[in-house]
Symmetry: C2
Subunit: 137 residues, 2 copies
Amino acid sequence: MKKNDEAYDTGCPIAFALKMFGDQWTLLVIRDMAVKGVRTYSELLKGGEGISTNILAQRLKQLEENGIVSKTRDPNNWRSFLYELTEKGRDLAPVLAEIVLWSGKYNLGDNAMKGTLEKVLRNRSAFEENIRMGRIP
Amino acid sequence: MKKNDEAYDTGCPIAFALKMFGDQWTLLVIRDMAVKGVRTYSELLKGGEGISTNILAQRLKQLEENGIVSKTRDPNNWRSFLYELTEKGRDLAPVLAEIVLWSGKYNLGDNAMKGTLEKVLRNRSAFEENIRMGRIP
């Protein structure tokens, strides 16, 4: 695996899971949009796991082509773009929820983040519904 | 993305989903073990999406290191190995189930396989329980 395909270990349960079962960048981009409400390229670039700008650009293009992300001009800054999950993208909420639960069981590292896990454990339906409505869960 | 990182489109819902959100090989190996009951290297190599032997060897090693797959000598053929999901690997059953459901909604291709989708739709608990017990669901 190429060096620049490797993510930093931030302790996020989703990053933890995907580090184990393959390339993680695409789901990390989806996570940033779904769980953190990120909308811009520069915020996605600062996602925490150290994605490079060329990988981010490639993955966003692929997500757009696959109908998971939509890209629109920022009405407040015509030179910028806003990225949003489509319904198809937001429908990945249950996949994210299950990955979070699995990682919660198996990520025993000291740096394991528990915030999202607790939200899913407390009220999974609300977690998924918020993502489906485009709200931060 | 490298050419040899691309899977053939077999219509499998899990392959469909992962083609969209990143490198798919690792979860395809897990799928072959969990859903098809595959145990040997040569069967994994024939998984359908055209995994290469060097990628398969690398992914199996990584899965073993991460405690998701165990590797033992085949008692009937001492020169061969058997691969099995550990409890940690089998606990990915709900992730697989959600990916199958999502793909079932969005893979509208003529070659979309429906068998696993129907099993999950009919009785999701049984699907997951079978995987957790090491049975073909």
